[in-house]
């Protein structure tokens, strides 16, 4: 990510923090906060999952969040529980939840990783992934990878590689290149690298 984008994200998050202090407008339907509170039983309080496999969603980019929810609603991802849940919400409600989670701080927890694999994964990440998943995969314009629960990353990569989920633009080429560099271990090395960050 370019530096000015990072700045605009900080400004945006500051704006969100200020918004939460303003009196609530009168509106129909549950608030964004009320909608988001219902997610905590699986994704952790305010979106910081305590694992071992449900993904953390705190600090997630709002557009990535909305796209994911729309994909689930259309059954475009390998069926989990989320496709059934996403069908209950409108686009506007997706946006409200997206803003709630974007303004939450992500609390990460240590995971057990293989140091040698993680080291190799760090190199692969820099070479193939950093351009979209900036700062080692910290929450940004693409999905959160750094410190994400490893089984979830595993499932996600399995779904991409088996054709059960559509690749985001350019990602297939990058993953193919990483596998060309390091063989079948490449994906596992990357996951250990992301899991080693907390």
């Amino acid at each position: 990510m370019k530096r000015d984008d990072t700045m605009s994200k900080h400004v945006r998050n500051l704006l969100l923090a200020v918004l939460t202090l303003l009196p609530a407008a009168v509106m129909a339907g549950p608030s964004g906060q009320a909608l988001s509170f219902t997610c905590a039983g699986c994704h952790g309080t305010d979106g910081s999952s305590v694992g071992p496999s449900m993904p953390a969603i705190a600090g997630m980019d709002p557009e990535v969040f909305v796209d994911a929810m729309k994909d689930y609603r259309l059954d475009k991802r390998n069926p989990s529980i989320m496709n059934r849940i996403a069908k209950a919400y409108s686009d506007e409600q997706f946006k409200e939840m997206a803003w709630f989670f974007a303004s939450q701080r992500l609390h990460l927890q240590p995971q057990v990783t293989d140091a040698a694999l993680a080291k190799r994964g760090a190199e692969l990440h820099q070479k193939h992934c950093e351009k979209c998943h900036e700062e080692g995969g910290r929450p940004g314009d693409a999905g959160t990878l750094a410190g994400q629960w490893m089984p979830y990353l595993q499932y996600t990569m399995q779904d991409f590689l088996s054709g059960k989920r559509d690749w985001p633009r350019k990602m297939k080429r990058k993953v193919d290149a990483a596998i060309e560099d390091d063989g079948a271990d490449a994906v596992s090395a990357l996951i250990h690298y992301y899991g080693s960050q907390h």
Partner: protein, 432 residues
């Protein structure tokens, strides 16, 4: 995201400003510190206590719970298969204390709705501005002849509140001879954890498959259908020979004479409507009602506590809110996730009331995972809204439901891992 998209998003957020109860003034600005007394430290009570403080830390919150620690009933069927210990389901209340909640180990015995005082067995009197009651379930001991609290504690455990009876049932299954027979008597609707009796049969079968492969598990049911039935039957066929002569699990429905009338604890013989069943291990899950304090405090109509579904305030006594299994919250099931979800709606409504604001529109979720066997997990999910005309909580149309039938082995395996995540996150959301 382009800059234009980004601006649109920010405008959207400003327009929404739907930020619930974090908006407005803290209760303290409007007067003396408000006091909430929470009765019961299960999922409903603990979540309500935590979220009250999270939404407004000027509110003084006291939680009254008779036990020194919480033992989760969800996931406790895994104790029966030996997959986990009861200890792994037991958690202290220090996390709530760190949120500034006063946790008092005592038993609430009465609530005076006019004086607004909760009385405890230890002689305590706790003044409140709002009282949250989340006592869980009680049992209808009179419903089954020969079945008493003493019998349950010693020879025929119900194990429907996780604790010593869960471990007793585990020991009985371990001590059972090869080729032995386990009888599970399922309760009539409504009851806590609708898929639970069937997960229990599954977990016992998972243990027996390895250690007592000729064992039989018979479920005697006063119902003709049960939660996640299609998925359970699929799992039982795949894992335990269901539908063959060698099936480890047998389900006897109401129509087949599954309703039981009497138990002889000496001979472990159960009298059902049509025939008698004798077991080596008998587990009776009795018919249920709201927990004792709900009756003592005059909060029940019939077996359960009627509430205003927008706030969970009792329709019988103002200022008292009833959550979780004890409340009449159809069409939500009596489950941990449901109690957790209701508690947040209730906490927000109380904070709004203290600030002189109307309660917001409620939204609820239930999710529930069951582990049918090794690498075989299944789930049900629903999102609910309020139909204010009928005061009923209704699922949002065309959403929710159970795991797909005949899903891949990979999906079933992932749902076991997700089941354990769901457990950890509910626990963390209520206690940490």
């Amino acid at each position: 995201m382009t800059n234009i998209d980004r601006r649109a998003f920010i405008r959207g957020a400003a327009g929404i400003a739907a930020l619930g109860v974090s908006a407005g003034f803290p209760a303290l600005v409007l007067g003396a510190a408000r006091r909430v007394v929470v009765v019961g430290g299960g999922v409903g009570g603990a979540t309500a206590a935590k979220y009250l403080r999270k939404l407004d830390d000027t509110i003084s919150v006291t939680l009254i719970e008779r036990k020194p620690s919480y033992t989760s009933c969800f996931m406790s069927n895994e104790v029966l298969s030996g997959e986990r210990t009861l200890q792994s389901l037991t958690f202290g209340y220090d996390g709530l204390r760190r949120h500034g909640i006063e946790v008092v180990q005592d038993t609430a015995v009465g609530i005076d709705p006019l004086q607004k005082i909760v009385q405890t067995a230890g002689g305590g009197k706790f003044q409140y501005d709002a009282c949250v009651v989340s006592p869980g379930i009680g049992f209808k001991w009179e419903a089954i002849g020969g079945y008493t609290e003493e019998v349950a504690a010693t020879t025929v455990p119900h194990a429907w509140n996780a604790g010593p009876q869960t471990e007793l049932l585990r020991r009985q299954i371990e001590a059972m001879p090869e080729g032995g027979r386990v009888i599970i008597s399922a309760p009539p609707n409504p009851f806590k954890c609708p898929p639970g009796p069937y997960e229990r049969a599954s977990q016992i079968a998972m243990y027996c498959k390895h250690h007592k492969p000729r064992a039989k598990i018979i479920i005697l049911d006063p119902k003709d259908a049960f939660s996640k039935q299609g998925l359970y039957l699929e799992g039982w066929r795949k894992l335990y020979g269901y539908g063959t002569d060698n099936s480890m699990i047998e389900w006897i429905s109401a129509a087949g004479g599954g309703k039981i009338e009497e138990i002889d604890p000496e001979t472990l013989t159960v009298q059902a409507e049509i025939e008698e069943f004798q077991g080596d291990v008998v587990n009776i899950i009795p018919p249920q009602k709201a927990g004792a304090i709900a009756f003592a405090a005059d909060l029940v109509e019939g077996d359960w506590c009627p509430v205003d579904k927008r706030t969970f305030e009792s329709t019988r006594h103002k200022g008292i809110y009833v959550l979780g299994d004890a409340s009449s919250a159809a069409k939500m099931p009596k489950s941990a996730y449901a109690a957790n979800s209701q508690a947040k709606v209730c906490a927000a409504a109380i904070v709004n009331r203290f600030r002189g604001l109307e309660p917001g529109d409620p939204t609820f979720v239930n999710t529930c995972y069951s582990v049918v066997g090794e690498d075989f997990g299944i789930s049900v999910a629903a999102v609910y809204g309020l139909n204010s005309h009928t005061n009923t909580i209704e699922p949002i149309p065309n959403s929710g439901g159970v795991s797909p039938a005949n899903a891949s082995a990979e999906i079933r395996k992932r749902e076991v891992s997700y089941a354990h995540s769901w457990f950890k996150n509910v626990i963390s959301d209520m206690l940490e």
